[in-house]
């Protein structure tokens, strides 16, 4: 990222207000129950983004939603299906306050869904979105992005990338959409002097030292690749996992889905795509009842091998971004951190 500007903290709200006139604005918001979630901000005057907490959901909820209406279908008397895609509109959307792990996760979703021409709705949403990232000066309790090279600062991938300097935000221009914002609303930005750029580096070093957990992801990755995991790891995880699928649903990079038909009446219905998870036993069960994954023995093997072994082979990096969501969500202590720790035993 080359061009760098300063945005005064006081001018952030006015800027968002301005942008919300052109875009649907999505940012972390703390709700009445004390939970911070990425959600649409209809009125940026009344609702201020919460930049202090990690949102519980990720951008996956928006780009690859939990439930996607694929088709309306009609069944004719001969039992034939006739499909009609539903009418959709994809408003241009600006995602604000995206942490490096979640931004890297979007880049990973791109790798999964963009090639080829099948995933039209993902492509439409993605092409209509702008990403404004926020670097993490202070990692949250369960985070370990540095161990998987996904944070705490982002080097590239967003349209604009902010670093909190206190009174100002340092603004780095990334992709074209970001340059466009600077060009159209230049009065919000002033160019950043060299010492502020140096402060970014200083903050980065401090943030790297700020993780509360020591996570040896490389070791787990190496041992998976060399097939030298200590014995009993999968069994232990399988007894502890309670099949809730929470880890996969919350994970910004888990992309398993299933397709179901929801009949409305005898002749009509909707075909839906729903999130699914390899942690669910039935996900791998075949029609005859045979299951290549034995639930009692290797239920979580798919998930961790996919993230830390297969994607490393295929894309050169693990698809765990170290956001720590599954660590906070898991019922049984069968999350990826637990696995990494067991693998390093």
């Amino acid at each position: 990222m080359s061009d760098q500007y300063l945005l005064s903290r006081d001018h952030l709200a006015p800027l968002l207000r301005r942008l919300a006139k052109e875009y649907r604005l999505v940012a972390p918001v703390r709700n009445d129950h004390g939970d911070t979630m990425f959600q649409e901000i209809a009125n940026p005057v009344a609702t201020v983004p919460d930049l202090e907490s990690q949102p519980q959901n990720s951008l996956k909820d928006f780009l690859f939603p939990q439930q996607e209406h694929l088709y309306d279908y009609r069944l004719d008397d001969a039992g034939g299906y006739h499909f009609q895609p539903p009418a959709t509109t994809t408003p241009p959307t600006l995602f604000f306050g995206v942490r490096p792990c979640d931004l890297n996760a979007v880049l990973y979703l791109d790798v999964v869904f963009l090639p080829g021409r099948r995933e039209l709705s993902y492509r439409r949403r993605r092409e209509n979105s702008l990403l404004i990232g926020l670097n993490c000066n202070q990692p949250f309790a369960d985070c370990f992005c540095a161990a998987v090279n996904a944070g705490p600062f982002l080097e590239e991938g967003s349209d604009l990338q902010l670093t909190d300097l206190g009174r100002d935000f340092l603004v780095e221009v990334g992709r074209a959409g970001g340059a466009e914002i600077i060009r159209r609303w230049p009065h919000f930005f002033r160019s950043a002097p060299a010492e502020e750029r140096n402060r970014r580096f200083q903050l980065y070093l401090e943030a790297r030292g700020g993780f509360s957990r020591q996570v040896h992801a490389d070791q787990a990755i190496k041992r998976l690749a060399a097939d030298t995991l200590p014995s009993g790891v999968w069994e232990e995880l399988a007894t502890r996992c309670q099949d809730c699928n929470g880890c996969a649903y919350l994970c910004p990079t888990c992309t398993c889905f299933t397709i179901v038909d929801q009949p409305q009446d005898q002749h009509h219905g909707r075909r839906l795509r729903l999130w699914d998870a390899c942690t669910a036993t039935g996900f791998t069960a075949m029609a005859g009842g045979h299951n290549p994954v034995q639930p009692g023995k290797d239920k979580l093997r798919q998930r961790f091998r996919h993230k830390l072994e297969l994607d490393v082979k295929k894309h050169g990096r693990p698809s765990c971004m170290g956001c720590g969501r599954c660590v906070g969500a898991c019922f049984g202590g069968a999350d990826i951190l637990h696995f990494i720790n067991l693998a390093g035993r």
Binding site: R240, Q242, C244, A280, F331
Partner: protein, 578 residues
């Protein structure tokens, strides 16, 4: 419930759920915790990670049993001798907490004398648990500084369910593991609000807050608020309503003086003016959110009784098997479509707020009850659920300080919460038991109502699976949950299957004295030889056609966990697609 009420004076979890995490020893009895109470199981996992020891008492080798340091696979229905045996070892090893017993309990000598006479060889014969295992468990539990007992329906759904609970309570008192943080006796309630329903008087003999209907002062308080006096005699039990008669208890037919309708306590008794004759049949039923045509034991008896009714009304969120038989169905709003409170297993009252509008004509339970009451000539004009809560606080001392505004924005309050300043009660019986002193109750082995014989050589145990809830009226509408568990499975030990030449996945017929039902066989080491295990979520395999109505004399809870059955291949159906 009844068991803890007699010994401690209050029938609820004595701890908070997260206290379990800090216990040194956890004894889990009759609970498939991982599948039925994952939020409790996660605390058990966490406790184990911190070095706690886990003892599991269960005839089946469940996931939590596999995790245990010690799994006592007792013969079904032998809980009482097993716990008595544990207590005897603890006593012999001088691990009893004499000071606690002296200061906080009563009737100890009766228990002590009984235990001195107890023969451990006999215990082994009755329970099938080897003496060394029993000893190890006793030493583990007895030496712990802070020990928690968690139990569930595997303990209570027996003809001796109340006594089963009493012996667990004895064990805790014997070692002083009550009345303090991170130690206690915890019944795990299966549904989000079953504790709340009991708290609000959905029990035959109780007004809200466990105030007995036989207490004239309590009745007066409610009469003053409601303008009508509640009946002075207990109502009928669930089975009496769904079967049209009092069920058999394990120890012979119920005599009239035994029936709860005639319990001593002042105003009870069949001669009470206006009291209906307990033998007379029920003519009309209103059922809310229950599906007895799938969930009650001996289903054929329920169906027969429902056919005899003049009128059946059902209020539910889906058209359940029971609702389909009703004369009138009230479509009810689900949890996300209404305001109100749920009280969970740790006595925590939590606020729920309407997130989406109810579909179609569905209405909240409050609206349904109020409209019905209006029609019956008693207008209820509550403006909101919050107003109902105010009345609860007024009339129910344990909820005395619980108001919606206090619940909002937090994690709720745990009763007892006596007034607006009270912070709620994380664990019960601090300094003294609710009933004053904890009472040791001596209990002896009581065999199950039905034992195996040549015609019915296997024991059937029933329970739940992870992916479905109760009669599946909600979960079976979910595509993914159905995929995870689509078929009614019957767990059979491979040895029993071999003897009958049954292969995994094959259709089998299970027959009891009351009916027969078909399942798919699942060969599993989770069940010991001689026992089969099935669940009651599936209308196409209504397992409760097989179960018995024999029930505990005091709590009236039926013995879902044991009945005698015979297993056969479902002949002629081979090759039929499931």
């Amino acid at each position: 419930m009844a068991g803890l009420a007699t010994t401690f004076g209050s029938g609820a979890m004595t701890n908070s759920i997260n206290e379990i995490e800090a216990a040194e020893v956890i004894l889990v009895s009759g609970s498939n915790t991982t599948e039925a109470h994952p939020q409790v199981a996660r605390r058990i996992y966490a406790a184990k990670d911190r070095g706690a020891k886990l003892i599991v008492i269960d005839p089946r080798r469940t996931a939590i049993a596999r995790l245990a340091d010690l799994h006592l696979a007792l013969k079904p229905g032998s809980d009482i001798p097993l716990i008595n045996g544990l207590m005897k070892v603890i006593l012999d090893e001088n691990l009893a907490d004499d000071l606690f017993i002296e200061l906080r309990t009563e009737n100890f000598f009766a228990l002590r004398d009984y235990l001195y006479r107890l023969d451990l060889a006999e215990v082994y014969r009755q329970t099938g648990v080897a003496p060394e295992e029993l000893r190890r468990a006793a030493l583990l539990y007895g030496r712990a500084g802070k020990a928690v007992i968690c139990y569930c329906l595997g303990v209570t759904q027996h003809v001796c369910g109340t006594a089963n609970v009493e012996v667990l309570a004895n064990l805790a008192m014997l070692t002083g593991n009550v009345e303090k943080e991170d130690a206690g006796v915890d019944p795990l309630r299966g549904q989000n609000n079953v504790q709340g329903a009991c708290d609000m008087g959905a029990l035959p003999g109780m007004l809200p807050g466990y105030q007995p209907v036989t207490d004239p002062e309590a009745r007066q308080r409610f009469a003053a608020a409601w303008g009508v006096e509640p009946p002075a005699w207990p109502g009928r039990t669930l089975l009496a309503m769904t079967h049209g008669r009092e069920p058999d208890s394990g120890d012979g037919p119920v005599s009239k003086s035994d029936s709860p309708a005639a319990k001593p306590g002042g105003a009870g008794g069949a001669d009470q003016p206006g009291q209906p004759d307990p033998a007379s049949g029920i003519r009309a039923l209103l059922i809310m959110g229950e599906n007895p045509l799938l969930s009650d034991p001996d289903l054929n008896g329920v169906a027969e009784n429902f056919r005899r009714l003049d009128f059946l009304a059902v209020s539910d969120i889906f058209l359940t098997e029971t609702a389909a038989q009703a004369d009138v169905v009230f479509p009810a709003a689900c949890f996300a479509e209404k305001d109100g409170c749920f009280t969970n297993t740790e006595r925590r009252v939590q606020l729920i707020s309407r997130a989406v509008a109810p579909p179609g004509q569905a209405k909240s339970d409050l609206e349904i009850i109020a409209a019905l009451s209006q029609q019956l000539g008693y207008p209820m004009d509550y403006q909101s659920a919050a107003e109902v809560m105010e009345e609860i606080a007024l009339l129910t001392p344990i909820y005395g300080g619980i108001y919606h505004d206090r619940l909002a924005g937090g994690w709720g309050l745990q009763w007892p919460c006596w007034d607006r300043q009270h912070p709620g009660t994380p664990y019960l019986h601090k300094y003294y038991f609710t009933r004053g002193r904890g009472r040791f109750a001596v209990a002896e082995h009581q065999p199950p109502a039905e034992s195996t014989d040549a015609d019915y050589p296997l024991l059937l145990n029933t329970g739940r699976v992870y992916h479905h809830y109760h009669t599946g009226s909600m979960t079976r509408h979910s595509a993914i949950l159905n995929r995870e568990c689509r078929h009614p499975l019957l767990q059979i030990n491979p040895a029993d299957a071999r003897a009958r030449q049954i292969a995994g996945g094959e259709a089998v017929r299970l027959i009891s004295r009351r009916g027969e039902v078909e399942f798919k066989a699942e060969l599993s080491q989770q069940v010991p030889p001689g026992m089969v295990y099935g669940n009651f979520h599936f209308a196409e395999a209504p397992i409760n056609q097989l179960t018995t109505t024999a029930s505990d004399r005091r709590a009236r809870c039926p013995e879902y966990k044991i009945c005698a059955v015979r297993l056969e291949k479902a002949g002629g159906d081979e090759g039929r697609r499931p």
